[in-house]
Subunit: 418 residues, 2 copies
């Protein structure tokens, strides 16, 4: 048997044990993991220094170095995040349906852990702790396969978390870090569909496509967020500018940032000049269609590619549309199924926008930046799914469980003996 298969099978057995722990015991375990991270801070920071040095030697850019870097305050943040996860409501055992059938059997739907979750990710070493905590809170085993650039940090963090498992008398294999980072080993991991219940890739589009194209295990993925704001003719102009600036400027590199602005032609002449001023004051480059450039002559021409682009940068594509239906049609063509927003003073238009679009999150008069597990009240987020199956949109603890049936009877049978 291959090494990776052995590791995965050990993780599955350990996960069964984890799923049977009480809510209290799983919470205590996460508290102990937080304490272990704090106690092991010197070793973890030393390991992180090695990764940073290697990255600098490779000439890695500052943004990447920043994602990779840990320091005492960031590490304390990671430990506190584990404590927050520990305190979240436990999804395991939640009864979501409970009814009695005419023959007297009682049917319940009850949440159980998925089983074994493989997290495949890049760069940020905090994911090692964050993702592990969420998986374990929901009673799952977790196989962590991080990037080579963070291997020393990830190994040190995993060792610390596994110490907490061991000291709680649990099998360490419930949290398994893959240290063999060869591509063929990852490919083998992604074939283990009799052991692994779900793979969640987190990182750049290249990584996610690689996982999606090679996996035989189920994958929940998120390629990109091409989020739209449509400003309806009845929108309050200040409100719309507020949503636009927050959506584009507050964190341009986030997947829930706005990439395309659609404007109803009846409001364009009033809205666009003020909107352009607010954006340009904040360094945003604008690219528009012919109609936009008639209102804002110094805007660059937008191409088809601009409407498909996830800039993740201070750039915005703009298009003027004749009406709500044209806005919906544009979004249907270019959507990444992530988040779409309408600014409108007409409730019926908001409703029509919500009805017509099937993106994971659709908002009326609220910022796309709320498309986030924490902001939507999930407590924490393991990722954002644009896969229309199981979980769609920001994924919290519930997304790491599945509902199954529990039936209680008093001897009922389907075909009673004559």
């Amino acid at each position: 048997m291959s090494d990776i298969r052995t590791l995965a099978l050990q993780c599955r057995d350990a996960a069964l044990q984890l799923g049977r722990l009480s809510t209290q015991a799983r919470g205590d375990l996460l508290q102990a993991m937080a304490a272990a991270l704090e106690a092991d801070a010197p070793a973890i920071l030393a390991a992180n220094d090695k990764d940073l040095q290697a990255a600098r030697d490779k000439g890695v850019g500052t943004a990447m170095l920043d994602r990779l870097a840990l320091n005492p305050s960031r590490l304390a943040g990671v430990a506190n995040a584990l404590r927050e996860v520990a305190a979240l409501p436990d999804p395991v055992g939640e009864v979501t349906r409970d009814y009695v059938r005419p023959n007297g059997i009682r049917v319940q739907k009850v949440r159980v852990p998925l089983g074994v979750i493989a997290m495949i990710y890049e760069a940020r070493p905090n994911v090692t702790a964050d993702a592990a905590a969420l998986c374990i809170k929901a009673g799952n085993g977790v196989i962590l396969r991080g990037g080579s650039e963070a291997i020393h940090s990830n190994t040190a963090i995993a060792a610390s978390l596994r110490r907490a498992l061991r000291e709680a008398g649990l099998a360490e294999a419930a949290l398994t870090l893959v240290e063999d980072l060869r591509r063929e080993t990852m490919l083998e991991l992604l074939q283990l569909n009799d052991v692994i219940d779900l793979a969640i890739p987190r990182g750049g589009e290249g990584l996610i496509r690689f996982v999606a194209e090679h996996a035989r295990v189920p994958v929940i993925k998120h390629y990109k967020g091409v989020c739209h704001l449509f400003v309806d003719d009845s929108a309050d102009i200040d409100l719309a500018i507020g949503l636009l600036v927050d959506g584009k400027v507050s964190r341009p590199a986030a997947c829930n940032s706005l990439e395309t602005l659609l404007v109803h032609e009846a409001i364009a002449a009033r809205f666009l000049p003020a909107a352009a001023q607010a954006l340009r004051e904040r360094g945003v480059e604008l690219r528009g269609d012919v109609a936009t450039r008639a209102v804002l002559p110094d805007v660059l021409a937008a191409t088809e590619d601009d409407y498909a682009a996830e800039y993740l940068d201070l750039i915005l594509a703009i298009r003027i549309v004749p009406d709500l239906q044209a806005a919906i049609a544009h979004i249907q063509q270019y959507t990444s199924d992530h988040t779409e927003v309408i600014a409108t003073g007409t409730p019926a238009h908001g409703q029509a926008f919500v009805q017509a679009l099937r993106s994971a999150v659709v908002m009326v008069n609220a910022s796309s930046r709320f498309s986030d597990g924490g902001e939507l009240g999930l407590g924490a987020e393991i990722g954002i799914s644009t896969t229309r199956l199981h979980s769609y949109g920001p994924m919290g603890l519930e997304a790491l469980t599945v509902e199954r049936f529990v039936v209680q009877g008093e001897g009922q049978v389907r075909h009673p003996l004559g």
Copy 2:
């Protein structure tokens, strides 16, 4: 662009239209489909005759011929099944969560259709109508890929159902039958993960493994049902025999039939002779371990393979276990994640059994044969999932939808301007 990709894209566009119809309109459509099947009965039965003749020419067995055969009464049953689906509660638009965040945004989770569902199935032509009805009721487009042995029947049924779509002013592509049954075309269909949201294979294990191993689209599958009954030492003997006979004999070819009986050693001497008599009267062959054969000397010896077998026949594997924990351990080793039953007079044992096992359906003192969408109150069933993701166990209409987020605000932003 390949033909199958073109068909799938047309189905996706048509599905958007379908998903936006009112509950009433989708219900009316299914009523019209039922009427169309009745009106087209002569053509459908003539097509079925062609399939039957071809099957007879190939020397197909009687069980297969029976699965393939339609007649006026079976066709009326299919039409009535569509009317029953039409009358089921509509899952689309259901609000499953509704809360207001501290900043005043209102967050709802609302069910939307999955999009496009590919059904891959064998033999039974009624699946063409049943599966299409469930997919359409839940607002999905459906691509049907049936077996070659039923191609004439399937084509006639699909033509009839598509006529109802056309007469309702809807795009026929919402229901697309794949008439090109080449293996490479099916492979191509299974790669369309940017168009197809879910594939559901229904048929023999070979078909399901083929789909699971070649699909890049998400698959919800069900290999087999190795369902267990554990008779605890505190079980009522008559009750346990009732569950055993119903589970093994009432329809041995069903996936929710019992395959293995586990008996607590403290009750074996009292339970097994009576159980064996009840089963043998009904033609069941018994295969047991050494301990079982000490109680029932004329039972055949069971091998490892017997405990892993889905007989789908009047054969039962038996094993005597020392206690509840050993029963759980046996089931964990051999489970197909389908359905497990305990017969017990001790509620705490029932609870421990339910807690320890993660199969899709776990029952206390009720027959495994209730592990069925209709029996569990789902109204209808499109399949039974043993994939621990999205939907686990019998799948009804809800399993053909996914929850997404709808947010209503009054201009809230994440980082208000200073």
